[in-house]
């Protein structure tokens, strides 16, 4: 190895030079944290150890501000409506049983900041990272989703980042051969300078293929495989190098990681062949904090120690220092624990896929993680202290003072449309608004068909993919969050996100089973933000308890703010559901003439945080719609049972924009028109037509019922005492929607309003 050992900060040297000043503050460590490291080690850390602790104890890796709150999720019953979780929070991703010997694993993660700096690569590597998490559970990744948030549609920042982010999500996922089955595109000025790029991956596995990230078995080998290690994403540790490096060398280290989806595709196939050959004891992906994280987590979760020969790591850039090799976030790498007798077979499989694999360490019977560089020992630490026993903070919380004023400003004064013409104009205005408009300019850049198992994707309510080709067993997924609701009330906002996602999955006909989340917030050092965070977690916890589904994993992204201003709290919630046969899934639009449209649920005048208030009046205030999870659960059961028993042919949940938007989308989906009457509903719920059309009350859906099943369907609703009202009939002779006694709107008018917005904003 070319490294001149004279400059190396070895364990021996650290022990002998306790007073040497170290750049802990520049590395983001607090004084007490540095002191704690010294106490753990009984000496000062070496540069490499300092680098490791600093990144593993960072907010991103250690969850030090969120841990006390997230612990709640661990108190939820570790059971889904179908049975025990096979792996939960704390693993790379949660794993749940979906029956017939199959399991699925899914998780959402954020890649917000990198995507702001370099939109294409930031988004691409965001997809790459979450896919490796899923692979690390022993699963084959089967689909991805991408909840995205941007600033105002016409803001220059949005113009800069959106095309790159969308191209990056597509560029990586398409090349990986993973269908993109859904996501979100939301615009709000609060995300200017801080777009959110969340990425979800779902994978499928047989129960016996479950793999965990732990290094056990003394003498077992630690194999690094995949791409070579370069200087990617190690900007932060350059302060360490600056002691030993000339400034030029340091400046050359890129903070941006570039993804190679082809390398990852090959890595996926290679991993699956390795699992099938049963040559892997433990496996871990390399993501944030690279080798530091992978080695310490594997060792920490195991029962012994680990020895690593860092200088054996294949490098793309020979000038990297050991600390940098430890810290590098080069993409498309995995680490496996392999028994010596299976190494040859392991290597042969890697070779077949042209994947470079190198033994870089071994499991020992010691207690420490020991990392060598040539003949020198440069890291000697208890792995738990790095990976799992990081600092935990109880950050101060304070309900923001502005909230009372915000909630009091309930929008009652906002002028409401009353004439038929105004109602129609409002409908078209909302349909064309950036958050409700057709998203196909984005989603057409994603392959939704690859692998041939996609049963539903955009623009339907949930993505649905087949898992088992023999039986049609499959899963449905949706991600949702209305951050305007969360801004008004983070507790209710998180529950509304959960409720919407749950409802979307049930609308497709799947039984909701489990939750993953991505909690995007401002700075945890701001007590107001921290309060929002704790409220959102509390809301999610209570919500999951009420719905009887566990949180199986997720991700926290803090520091999403520009200057002092934080984004709206954005707890993105993903719900996964299961279907015995996805061929039975319920689409979100109607086709068959004569089918009756039913509105399920009751409507109240709820316009706090609504799309109408936003689009028409630029107003945010009041309280979000009331959440009643008991009702959501009943609605879910009705939708799932009706789908299973063939009582409905289409279903669309009601959310942003209310009934008016659901009717318009259901009509535009296949072009079959609908005749609609709302007088009975207005009378029953004591509301006006405007409220019936645009209120955003929760726990509602509209369904299309074949005439022959009408009695059975209404009996089912009545038996449960669930509000249902016949509001229309599908009529394919009719052009668009006729709202009786009010207005008619043609398909062309609807489509024109709906489809023009994104192309006008981005197609140049």
């Amino acid at each position: 190895m070319s490294a001149s050992t004279s400059q190396l900060d070895t364990v021996e040297r650290a022990a002998a030079s306790s007073d040497t000043p170290q750049p802990w503050a520049e590395l983001g460590l607090g004084e007490d944290e540095y002191a704690r490291i010294r106490e753990i080690l009984g000496r000062r850390p070496t540069s490499a150890e300092l680098a490791m602790y600093s990144v593993m104890w960072s907010e991103h890796c250690s969850y030090k501000s969120s841990k006390v709150h997230l612990r709640r999720f661990g108190d939820l019953p570790a059971e889904t409506p179908l049975g025990k979780q096979l792996a939960g929070i704390g693993e790379n991703a949660g794993v749940i049983d979906i029956g017939q010997g199959w399991a699925v694993t899914f998780k959402v993660e954020s890649h917000n900041h990198p995507s702001y700096v370099e939109p294409y690569q930031g988004a691409a590597t965001g997809v790459g990272g979450i896919v490796r998490d899923i692979m690390a559970m022993g699963a084959r990744p089967i689909a991805v989703m991408d909840p995205l948030r941007f600033g105002a549609i016409d803001h220059p920042d949005t113009q800069r980042v959106l095309p790159g982010i969308v191209a990056g999500v597509g560029g990586y996922g398409n090349c990986l051969g993973l269908p993109n089955i859904g996501g979100e595109v939301v615009f709000d000025p609060c995300y200017q300078g801080n777009p959110l790029v969340n990425a979800l991956c779902v994978g499928a596995l047989r129960h016996e293929d479950l793999h965990l990230a732990k290094a056990t078995g003394t003498g077992n080998l630690v194999v690094l495989f995949g791409a070579k290690t370069g200087g990617d994403g190690i900007g932060g540790v350059s302060v360490l190098a600056s002691e030993t490096f000339d400034d030029e060398g340091v400046g050359k280290r890129p903070a941006v990681q570039v993804g190679d989806p082809f390398a990852e595709k090959v890595l996926i196939e290679c991993c699956l062949d390795l699992y099938a050959a049963e040559v892997v004891e433990g496996i871990q992906d390399l993501g944030g904090a690279g080798l530091s994280c992978a080695t310490s987590e594997l060792a920490s979760a195991g029962d012994g120690g680990m020895r690593v020969w860092l200088d054996r790591v294949p490098l793309r850039d020979a000038t990297l220092r050991p600390e940098e090799v430890l810290m590098s976030e080069s993409q498309e790498r995995m680490m496996a624990v392999v028994t010596p007798d299976k190494l040859d077979e392991f290597m042969a499989i890697a070779d077949r896929w042209d994947v470079e694999a190198t033994v870089v360490g071994e499991v020992t019977d010691g207690t420490n993680l020991q990392i060598h560089w040539g003949d020198e020992l440069i890291v000697d630490v208890p792995p738990r202290s790095v990976a799992h026993d990081g600092p935990v903070y109880e950050r101060p919380l304070e309900r923001p003072a502005y909230l009372d004023g915000l909630q009091a400003d309930d929008g009652a004064r906002l002028a409401r449309p009353s004439t038929p013409e105004d109602l129609k104009a409002t409908l078209l205005q909302l349909l064309a608004s950036p958050n409700l408009c057709d998203k196909s300019w984005v989603t057409d850049q994603y392959d939704r068909y690859v692998r041939g198992n996609t049963a539903l994707a955009m623009p339907d309510d949930a993505g649905v993919v087949r898992v088992d080709e023999e039986t049609g067993l499959g899963v449905a997924l949706s991600t949702d969050c209305n951050s305007r609701f969360a801004k008004l009330d983070p507790y209710a906002g998180a529950q509304l996100a959960l409720a919407e996602s749950y409802r979307n999955v049930a609308t497709a006909g799947a039984i909701p089973l489990a939750v993953s989340d991505c909690l995007n917030f401002g700075s945890p050092e701001d007590p107001g933000v921290m309060w929002e965070f704790s409220e959102a977690v509390r809301g999610l916890y209570d919500g999951c308890l009420a719905l009887g589904i566990p949180v199986t994993g997720g991700n926290v992204s803090f520091y999403n703010q520009t200057g002092e201003t934080a984004i709206h709290p954005t707890p993105v919630v993903a719900v996964l559901g299961v279907m015995d046969d996805v061929a039975r899934r319920t689409p979100s639009g109607w086709k068959a003439p004569g089918q009756m449209l039913y509105l399920l649920g009751r409507t109240a005048s709820e316009f706090g945080g609504s799309t109408w208030a936003d689009v028409v009046h630029g107003h945010l205030g009041g309280l979000p719609p009331a959440v009643e999870l008991g009702l959501e659960r009943e609605l879910g059961e009705i939708l799932v049972n009706a789908s299973r028993d063939g009582l409905i042919d289409a279903a669309h949940d009601l959310s942003d924009g209310g009934l008016a938007i659901a009717l318009a989308e259901g009509t535009m989906r296949y072009g079959a028109g609908a005749r609609v009457w709302l007088d009975e509903v207005c009378e029953r719920d004591e509301i006006d037509v405007f409220t019936a059309l645009f209120s955003e009350s929760a726990a509602r859906a509209v369904v299309a019922v074949p005439r022959s099943e009408e009695v059975r369907f209404t009996d089912m609703c009545s038996a449960r005492g669930f509000a249902h009202a016949r509001i229309g009939v599908v009529d394919d002779e009719l052009d668009g929607i006729e709202l009786q006694g009010r207005f008619s709107v043609t398909l062309e008018e609807l489509r024109h309003a709906h489809t023009g917005t994104l192309p006008a904003a981005f197609a140049h």
Partner: protein, 223 residues
């Protein structure tokens, strides 16, 4: 009846092509890019995907894979070969078909349900369609714009070798709305859209793609 599907590193729709072959009752035979061996199959499909990442030009590197050493002479000798999307690009790079595929004129990847007109229902892969029949299959690619010089285009038209044309708006800037072409003999066919994504009720826009696979079945049985 054995139909082979080649897997290159980075192939994505190989499983889908194998499934389509099974659905029409043929034996699906996986072929490996590194083997100079066609395992005695009666027809070969080069599937969609991003072989070798498609980094240089789509299909450019796959063209030099060992399996192509066996495939090219076999195709020249009359073996039915279908190139779908990336497979079409490989066929053009290998000069089994004329022309080339370049970046879409709008410079974006596009995935959508696409109507095609079958312009030549006499090839090994289209005989189960009617001349002029319109079918709906899946289009998904970033570099699907078919280009060739005028002389080649005129020759293709004159010889009836334009096998498929896009109906409605041209999705990618392909010259003369060309979606797929065939060689003189009609055994080698390449197209950008994906018939293998339209073979099962519920998992694609239609089942219009089945005709490709039933056609070749009939062809080989006849032969």
């Amino acid at each position: 009846m054995r139909i082979g599907v080649v897997t290159f590193p980075g192939s994505l729709d190989d499983q889908d092509a194998l499934r389509a072959v099974r659905l029409v009752g043929a034996e699906a035979v996986p072929l490996w890019h590194g083997d100079e061996d066609l395992r005695g199959v009666d027809a070969v499909i080069l599937p969609g995907g991003f072989s070798y990442g498609d980094y240089l030009r789509c299909g450019a590197i796959a063209r030099f894979a060992p399996v192509m050493g066996a495939l090219v002479p076999a195709a020249q000798g009359g073996l039915p070969v279908l190139g779908i999307c990336n497979g079409f690009q490989v066929l053009c790079e290998s000069h089994l078909l004329p022309g080339a595929l370049i970046r879409n004129d709008h410079r974006k990847f596009v995935c959508r349900d696409q109507v095609l007109r079958v312009e030549n229902a006499a090839t090994a892969w289209t005989s189960d369609y009617e001349q002029g029949q319109e079918i709906t299959v899946v289009l998904k690619n970033g570099e699907g714009s078919y280009v060739a010089d005028e002389r080649t285009l005129d020759a293709l038209e004159a010889e009836g070798r334009v096998a498929f044309r896009y109906v409605g708006q041209n999705p990618n800037g392909s010259y003369r709305d060309i979606a797929g072409i065939t060689n003189e003999r009609g055994n080698v066919v390449g197209l950008m859209p994906h018939p293998e994504h339209a073979v099962e009720e519920g998992y694609g826009p239609s089942v219009d793609g089945l005709g490709f696979f039933t056609s070749v079945l009939a062809q080989v049985v006849r032969a």
